[in-house]
C-alpha cells in the first residue's frame, strides 16, 4: 500500500462522505457548499491520477460556476427543504 | 452533384449553424427570423434529398470527419436508417411554416427568434444523431436535440409548461447518463468508440459488463422513446408545448430513441443470451404501451393530451415490431416510424390551428367546427382515419407488416393486441370526428371561428396528401427499407 494509494483511499472516502452529507442535509445552502467541496475533492482525485485537464475543468465548473448558480437560485427560492 | 460526399456532415452542420445565426441576425425581428428558419430547413431538406438519391444510386456512404479514419476520428454513415433525415427535415420545414402565425400569439415576441433557433438546432441534432457511426458522437447529438427540446417545451406561456419541461429534463438527463455510462463500459472493454469496430471487438465471454452496457443503452433509449412504463414525462410535455413543438417532439424526437436502439443493438449481436431476453421485454412493454396509450387517449378531454397518449401507443407498436425482430416486423416498424411521424405532425398542426383560431382545447368544445373551418377539420379527419390504420391510408402499412411479423414469429396474441389498440384508436377518432362534423357548436368562439391562414393551411394540405401518398407507396418503401434489415443487430435470428 504505497502512500499514493493511501491518499487515493482517503480522497475517495472523503468523496463518499460529502455525497452522503449532501443527501442528508436539509439546508440547501449548506448542501450547495458541500457540493462545491465534493467537486473540489473530485478535482484532487483526478489531478492526482494523471488527468490534469479534466481536474482543472471540474474545479472551475463544479466548484465554481455550478455552485454559484445553485446559491443564486437558493437565495431566490428558499433555503429550507421541507 | 450527387458525387460530392461532403453533403453528409453538412446535413447536420447546416441547421446547427443556421440555428446559431438566427438570434444574431434576426433578434427582435420575428418575420425575418421565420423566413430565415424556413429557408434553412428547406436547404437541409434538399441536402437530405441529394443524399437519398446518392444512397439509392450507389449504396451506403461512409465519411471520415476531418480526414481521420475510424481508428483515429469519427465516422459518419448514411444508410436506410439515416434516410429518415429526409422526412425529418421535411416535417420540420412544414412545422416551421405553420409556426409563423401560431407563434406570434403563443410565444412572447422578444423570444421568437430564440424559438426558431432552437427548432433549427433540434433538427441539426436529430440529423447528426441519425448519421453518426460513433458512440460518443451519438451521445453529443442526443444532448443537442434534448436540450433544445426541453427549452422548446418551456417556451409556451402556460404556467404548467415550465414544470412539464422540468420533468422532461430530469428524465431526459437520467437517460442520457445511462447512455454515457454504457459508452464508458463499451470503451473500457474495447478501447474504441466506433460502433462497427466496437461490435467486432466486444468479447462477450465475460457477459456481465456487456449486460450492463446493454441494459444502460436499452433503458436510456427507452426513456427517450417514451416506452411504457417510462413514458409518463411525455403527455405533460407534449400537451404543454406549443403545437408545432409538440408535432416535432411526437413525430421526430421520440423516434430518435427508437433509432438509438436500432444503432446500438448491433454491438451485442454476438451474445445470444443477452439480446433475446431484452428484445422480449421490449415486445411486452411495447404491447402494454400500445394498449395503455390507446386507452388513456380515449379518456382524455384535452385534444393535445389525447394525441400525446396516442404517440405512446404508436411507439408501443414500433417497439413491438423491433422486439420481434423478424424481417417483416422490423421492416414494418421502420416504415411506421416514418408514417406515424407524418400523421402525428398533421394531427398536432390541425389541433394547433383549432387552438390558434378558437383558443379551445377540449374535444367537447370543438363541436361544429367543420362548418367554420372546413379545411382544418378535413385535415384532422384524414389524420385521425390514418392514425386508426384504415387500409388505404398511411397508418395501415406499418401495422399490417408488424402483424404479419408477429404471426411469423408465432405470437398471435400480439396481433390481438394490435387489433384491440387499433379499435381503441378508431373509437376516439370517431368521437372527435363526430364532435367536429355532426354536433352543433357549443362555444361562441367555435361558432364564430374563421378558417386558419394560408401559412397554416399549406402544411396541412401537404401532409394530408402525404397520408394518402404514403398509404399508396407502401410497397415502394418496403423494398427500399428491406436491404437494411438483415444488417440490424447483427442478423435476424
Amino acid at each position: 500500500m504505497s502512500p499514493t494509494d493511501v491518499l487515493d483511499l482517503v480522497l475517495l472516502a472523503l468523496l463518499l462522505t460529502c455525497a452522503i452529507g449532501i443527501a442528508r442535509l436539509k439546508d440547501l445552502a449548506a448542501a450547495a457548499i458541500l457540493f462545491s467541496a465534493y467537486s473540489f475533492i473530485l478535482c484532487l482525485v483526478w489531478a492526482h491520477r494523471g488527468a490534469p485537464d479534466v481536474a482543472m475543468t471540474e474545479a472551475a465548473v463544479g466548484a465554481g460556476i455550478t455552485t454559484v448558480l445553485f446559491l443564486t437560485v437558493i437565495s431566490r427560492v428558499g433555503r429550507r427543504e421541507k | 452533384m450527387t458525387e460530392w460526399p461532403h453533403w453528409l456532415p453538412i446535413l447536420a452542420v447546416l441547421p446547427l449553424v443556421g440555428g446559431a445565426l438566427t438570434p444574431l441576425l434576426f433578434h427582435r425581428r420575428p418575420v425575418a427570423a421565420w423566413f430565415w428558419a424556413v429557408s434553412v430547413a428547406a436547404a437541409t431538406t434538399l441536402v437530405a434529398m441529394t443524399l437519398l438519391l446518392k444512397l439509392i444510386a450507389s449504396g451506403g456512404l461512409s465519411y471520415a470527419v476531418g480526414g481521420w479514419l475510424p481508428q483515429y476520428g469519427i465516422e459518419l454513415r448514411f444508410d436506410e436508417i439515416g434516410a429518415f433525415a429526409l422526412p425529418a427535415s421535411l416535417l420540420v420545414l412544414l412545422s416551421l411554416s405553420f409556426s409563423r402565425h401560431y407563434v406570434a400569439r403563443a410565444v412572447d415576441s422578444g423570444r421568437i427568434s430564440f424559438y426558431y433557433a432552437l427548432i433549427l438546432i433540434n433538427l441539426g441534432g436529430l440529423n447528426g444523431f441519425l448519421i453518426t457511426g460513433d458512440l460518443f458522437n451519438l451521445f453529443v447529438f442526443m444532448e443537442i436535440f434534448s436540450v433544445s427540446a426541453y427549452a422548446l417545451v418551456a417556451t409556451a406561456r402556460e404556467p404548467v409548461a415550465a414544470l412539464a419541461a422540468l420533468k422532461y429534463l430530469f428524465l431526459g438527463a437520467l437517460s442520457s447518463l445511462l447512455v454515457l455510462f454504457s459508452v464508458g463500459v463499451v470503451f473500457a472493454m474495447t478501447g474504441t468508440l466506433n460502433i462497427e469496430d466496437a461490435a467486432a471487438d466486444l468479447d462477450l465471454s465475460t457477459p456481465m459488463p456487456a449486460a450492463l452496457a446493454l441494459a444502460g443503452l436499452a433503458t436510456g433509449f427507452a426513456v427517450k422513446a417514451a416506452l411504457f412504463p417510462v413514458h409518463f414525462w411525455l403527455p405533460d410535455a407534449h400537451a404543454a408545448a406549443p403545437a408545432p413543438v409538440s408535432a416535432i417532439l411526437s413525430a421526430l424526437v421520440v423516434k430518435a430513441g427508437v433509432v438509438g436502439l436500432l444503432r446500438t443493438l448491433e454491438l451485442f449481436a454476438g451474445g445470444e443470451g443477452l439480446l433475446q431476453p431484452m428484445l422480449n421485454s421490449i415486445v411486452w412493454l411495447g404491447a402494454l404501451g400500445a394498449l395503455g396509450g390507446a386507452l388513456m387517449a380515449l379518456v382524455q378531454r384535452d385534444i393535445k393530451l389525447m394525441l400525446a397518449y396516442s404517440t405512446v401507443a404508436n411507439i408501443g407498436y414500433i417497439l413491438i415490431g423491433l422486439g420481434l425482430s423478424t424481417a417483416s416486423a422490423t421492416t414494418g416498424a421502420m416504415i411506421h416510424v416514418v408514417n406515424h411521424a407524418v400523421i402525428k405532425v398533421l394531427l398536432f398542426l390541425a389541433a394547433g390551428a383549432f387552438i390558434h383560431r378558437t383558443g379551445l382545447r377540449c374535444i367537447d368544445d370543438l363541436r361544429g367546427l367543420a362548418r367554420r373551418m372546413p379545411f382544418t377539420a378535413f385535415a384532422m379527419g384524414v389524420g385521425l382515419v390514418s392514425l386508426s390504420g384504415v387500409p388505404p391510408m398511411a397508418g395501415f402499412v406499418g401495422k399490417w407488416q408488424i402483424a404479419v411479423g408477429a404471426l411469423q414469429a408465432g405470437r398471435p396474441i400480439l396481433v390481438a393486441v394490435l387489433v384491440i389498440a387499433g379499435l381503441l384508436v378508431l373509437a376516439f377518432s370517431v368521437r372527435v370526428t363526430n364532435a367536429m362534423y355532426f354536433r352543433p357548436p357549443s362555444r361562441i368562439s367555435a361558432a364564430a371561428a374563421t378558417e386558419a391562414p394560408v401559412s397554416m393551411l399549406f402544411p396541412l394540405l401537404v401532409l394530408t396528401a402525404g397520408c394518402f401518398g404514403l398509404g399508396m407507396a407502401g410497397q415502394v418503401m418496403l423494398r427500399f427499407v428491406a436491404p437494411a434489415v438483415p444488417g440490424l443487430y447483427g442478423g435476424i435470428p
Partner: protein, 136 residues
C-alpha cells in the same frame, strides 16, 4: 480471497457506482426541485469519474508528450469525453435552474407536494384538463 483483491483493485469503480446510487437516491426521494438538480449533478460527476477511471494507468504520466517525458501515458480519449460531458452537465443544470425559477414564479413553490396539492384545487392557475390527468 481474490474477490477482495479484485474489489481493492477496482475500488475506483466501486466508489463511482456508490456515488451514482447516492445521486439517484437524492434525485428520486427529494421533494425539493433544487435538491433534485444537486442529486443529478452528483450522478453526472460519478459517471464522469467512471470514464476517467477507465483511462487511468498506474504510475503513468498525463497525456502530455513534452520532450523527455517517458513512461506509460494515461489514455487521452476519456479525458476528452469527460471534458465534453462536464460542459453538457453545466448546460443542463443551468436550464434546470432557470426552469425552477419559472416554476417558483408561476406555481408559487419548488416543493413537489406543494405544487401537486395546489394543482388539485379547482380553478388552479393551470387549465384543469391537462393538469387533472398527469399521473406523476
Amino acid at each position: 480471497m481474490n474477490l477482495a483483491a479484485e474489489a481493492f483493485s477496482h475500488v475506483d469503480y466501486l466508489v463511482t457506482v456508490a456515488l451514482f446510487l447516492i445521486g439517484a437516491w437524492i434525485l428520486l426521494t427529494s421533494g425539493n426541485l433544487v435538491k433534485k438538480v444537486i442529486g443529478l449533478n452528483i450522478m453526472e460527476t460519478s459517471v464522469f469519474a467512471f470514464i476517467v477511471t477507465t483511462g487511468m494507468i498506474d504510475d503513468g504520466a498525463p497525456p502530455l508528450l513534452a520532450a523527455g517525458v517517458e513512461g506509460p501515458f494515461a489514455s487521452p480519449l476519456p479525458h476528452a469525453l469527460v471534458l465534453t460531458g462536464i460542459v453538457v452537465a453545466v448546460s443542463v443544470t443551468s436550464l434546470a435552474l432557470v426552469l425552477i425559477l419559472r416554476v417558483k414564479a408561476e406555481l408559487g413553490s419548488v416543493e413537489l407536494d406543494e405544487i401537486a396539492s395546489a394543482g388539485e384545487q379547482p380553478g388552479a392557475a393551470a387549465p384543469p384538463d391537462s393538469r387533472g390527468h398527469a399521473n406523476d
